[in-house]
């Protein structure tokens, strides 16, 4: 379904004023911490963008990422961007069309070979590829095939970025992330469970504007949205500093909005935009609602020792380990003590009485 209109043409056709469009660009610019001088550049880039072909493949996922992004809760701008970015293939949205979908997919890939953006959500079962297939083709094969002609890959959601929920112990399907499998293409990880809607559109806008992969952190996430620690931007930080913590979900501290560290908040080790950008167009985010951050944009967040276990806490039962140490120590200790006593007793037995004649050293 390629549409050759430029974004500008499309927007005007949809009744979006130039003013509204520029407002979106300004918002995008500020979200990416770009100066106002960049706004015209963003506008120009978007206006003239030949809508790149985008192929969206869904693998072992819960569809939460798709829900978050495409079921628009904010009326039109993101949705428009989506329409603008020629979404040539999306498993879920196109499910009703049967075999024709597969044909359209192959066509889009051939036509735009080397130029299309591949978006992936969901993990890929590598242990037994049969766990997740589309039209009889395993996710693994589909990913490899689609990656061949992709200009770049965007792993949306923690499942695609790091394995997510299926990857959690004991990982029965042998789930892997995109970057585990594809090694020769640029990959942008946009994790979150799900990611914040404006984060994905912001990433795409950034990509369109500058025509290259944005600055990524060590886990492959765009710095613009994942460069900050939740803990550093959390509005409850002063309570952490003062040592005022909620101990349970309905105690005095919880009602007063105190820090949720003791209730398992993973804020200090989580990098995302939740504390600043928030959700539902800035309505709220987990901590503000009174629940600790799950760390959902971090790898292995499901296996981080428990959502309600404080970050500083060991993930093992130390009392139990201490008990093992004590039991083993006592056993070894008794043996060592007995050896000591034996040695001393032997020394006493072998004592030769010292007399004044012995005081001169022997030859």
């Amino acid at each position: 379904m390629a549409d050759d209109r430029t974004l500008a043409e499309m927007l005007r056709a949809q009744g979006i004023t130039r003013r509204g469009f520029l407002k979106f660009c300004a918002t995008t610019a500020s979200m990416m911490a770009l100066s106002p001088a960049m706004v015209p550049k963003i506008a120009a880039a978007l206006e003239n963008a030949r809508r790149p072909s985008v192929i969206w493949l869904s693998f072992q996922e819960c569809t939460g990422c798709t829900e978050s992004l495409t079921r628009s809760h904010s009326p039109t701008i993101e949705k428009l961007i989506f329409d603008v970015i020629s979404l040539d293939h999306h498993h879920t949205l196109m499910a009703a069309s049967g075999e024709a979908v597969d044909e359209a997919l192959n066509e889009a890939m051939e036509e735009n070979f080397g130029k299309y953006i591949l978006i992936v959500d969901g993990s890929i079962p590598v242990g037994n590829p049969a766990y997740s297939t589309v039209s009889g083709i395993s996710n693994l094969d589909m990913l490899k095939h689609a990656a061949e002609g992709a200009a770049a890959i965007v792993s949306v959601g923690t499942c695609a970025a790091y394995g997510g929920l299926p990857y959690a112990s004991p990982n029965p399907t042998g789930a892997a992330s995109v970057e585990d499998i594809i090694k020769d293409k640029p990959i942008i990880n946009v994790p979150g469970c799900p990611p914040i809607p404006v984060v994905i559109t912001g990433v795409l806008a950034q990509f369109l504007t500058f025509g290259k992969i944005p600055e990524l952190d060590s886990l492959g996430r765009p710095m613009a949205f994942y460069g900050q620690n939740i803990h550093d931007r959390c509005y409850r930080r002063p309570f952490y500093e003062r040592g005022q913590f909620a101990e349970t979900f309905d105690d005095e501290g919880a009602k007063k909005g105190w820090c949720l560290f003791k209730l398992g908040c993973k804020g200090p080790i989580t990098y995302n935009a939740c504390a600043t950008t928030k959700w539902n167009e800035g309505t709220s985010w987990p901590v503000e609602s009174g629940h600790g951050c799950l760390g959902c944009s971090q790898p292995n967040f499901w296996d981080m020792g428990g959502f309600y276990r404080a970050l500083s806490m060991p993930t093992v039962d130390l009392a139990n380990k201490a008990g093992i140490g004590l039991a083993a120590g006592a056993a070894i200790g008794v043996a060592a003590g007995a050896l000591n006593r034996g040695k001393k007793a032997k020394a006493v037995r072998e004592h030769e009485t010292v007399t004044v004649d012995d005081l001169e050293k022997g030859a």
């Binding site: 004592h351 030769e352 009485t353 004044v356 005081l359 022997g362």
Partner: protein
């Protein structure tokens, strides 16, 4: 009879390891505080004289043979063995530079009784033949002749007759059933006959029965000084046998430092059974007399005086208050040294140091600590209750050209004794 060997020495050290020793070595954090408590360090600034360093070979033995990790390391050949050469080097630290004064024990922040450790270390030194010649000679004489200075019974009897003539009071030898049996140190017999005279007069005035055993009169225990329990036991046994034979109630340890430690605290443990008699220092006995009203004095010394606390008597012996009670009977101007009582400084000659020719020079350097104490104080007279301290202090004062008399406490009390008018004998005869 085999001679001393390294293996015998190591074996002796093995016997010495007990719970306190293991605790002490486990706790030392190398803080260095013990150095400042030791006069041998403060007056020479030689870091090798740091008290805990004096027991380093013992520490290694403990680590290598009594800790699991140490044993494993030794089995893997990763530990440094104790050698004759090392023990020879340690002779200086364990004997020349240590009087077993116990000050380090009082200040160690983790509670190490370093004196206890050094005493045990000496067991290994003695069994391996690494002891100072002077102590070897003293011990040999003590065992074979009966006195480390070679004083024999006739010499004592001659002293006794001399005293009898001066006082008119008989010195009782070998009296069975006497309440007290007096011991004397060779030092007192040779250098301070006024002690025997003082005891004689005081006991006579108090009406208490006492005796000296002709078989065991020597209080000095060279075995304790050299650090051999075997030799110490031999010497203590003589006293115990004599005391049991004469059926006395209390054995009196004289004005000597380590003799008290030897007979009072180590004695029963050396022979392996409690004594059937008490052991008391002469000052303890005199203080009891004072409490019972049996020690009456008249007149006062008007000299400004201070008391030197013999280490083995006060800090390591527990006879702290008695000297003061007694001194206050006859002194009007008694001042304590700044560091006094259980924290007083050693004279520098105890624990065998005075019998050790190799320590001659070091001993005098150590005396500087006592000199500093006296300089802070400005006194006319120094009183003490140990003949060895007396000799050392007198020598030290002379060496430093300080003109100050040193007096024994018993002697001083006797000079103020209220004589029994009936006998018609007084000091002035």
């Amino acid at each position: 009879m085999s001679k001393a060997t390294l293996e015998r020495g190591l074996n002796a050290l093995r016997e010495q390891i007990d719970t306190p020793i293991a605790l002490f070595f486990s706790s030392c954090t190398h803080c260095g505080m013990c150095a400042t408590a030791c006069l041998f360090y403060t007056e020479t600034e030689n870091p090798a004289y740091t008290p805990i360093n004096k027991v380093e070979p013992l520490r290694r033995l403990w680590e290598q043979e009594y800790t699991l990790v140490g044993r494993i390391k030794k089995a893997l050949g990763m530990s440094k063995p104790i050698t004759d050469a090392e023990l020879e080097e340690w002779k200086e630290y364990a004997y020349n530079a240590c009087s077993l004064c116990g000050r380090c024990t009082m200040v160690c922040p983790v509670g190490n009784d370093i004196t206890y450790m050094i005493r045990k270390m000496r067991e290994g030194m003695a069994a391996s033949g690494h002891t100072p010649e002077g102590l070897v000679g003293a011990s040999t004489r003590a065992v074979k002749i009966g006195s480390p200075m070679g004083v024999k019974l006739p010499a004592l009897q001659a002293q006794a007759r001399h005293v009898e003539k001066d006082t008119g009071i008989e010195i009782p030898f070998d009296v069975e059933g006497a309440e007290y049996m007096l011991l004397m140190s060779s030092m007192e017999i040779m250098n301070y006959p006024e002690y025997l005279e003082a005891v004689s007069k005081i006991f006579n005035a108090a009406g208490k029965s006492w005796t000296i055993s002709s078989e065991a009169f020597e209080a000095t225990n060279s075995g304790i000084q050299i650090g051999s329990s075997d030799i110490a036991r031999e010497l203590v046994s003589r006293v115990v046998n004599a005391a049991e034979k004469l059926k006395v109630k209390t054995v009196i340890s004289p004005e000597c430092g380590h003799a008290y430690t030897a007979i009072r605290w180590e004695g029963p443990n050396l022979i392996g059974r409690p004594f059937p008699f008490h052991v008391k220092h002469i000052l303890e006995v005199l203080d009891e007399f004072r409490e019972q009203g049996l020690l009456k004095t008249e007149g006062f010394e008007d000299a400004r005086m201070t008391f030197h606390d013999p280490c083995q008597l006060v800090r390591r012996g527990g006879v702290v208050q008695q000297p003061r009670n007694l001194l206050n009977m006859v002194a009007t101007d008694f001042v304590e040294m700044k560091d006094h009582g259980i924290m007083n400084w050693c004279c520098g000659a105890g624990g065998g140091v005075s019998a050790n020719e190799d320590a001659e020079e070091l001993k005098m350097k150590a005396f500087n600590r006592k000199k500093h104490q006296l300089e802070e104080l400005n006194v006319d007279t120094l009183v003490t209750a140990c003949a060895n301290c007396r000799i050392q202090i007198e020598e030290g004062l002379e060496e430093n050209e300080i003109d100050m008399p040193v007096v024994g406490l018993t002697e001083m009390l006797a000079e103020h004794l209220v004589e029994d008018k009936k006998t018609g004998v007084s000091d002035n005869d």
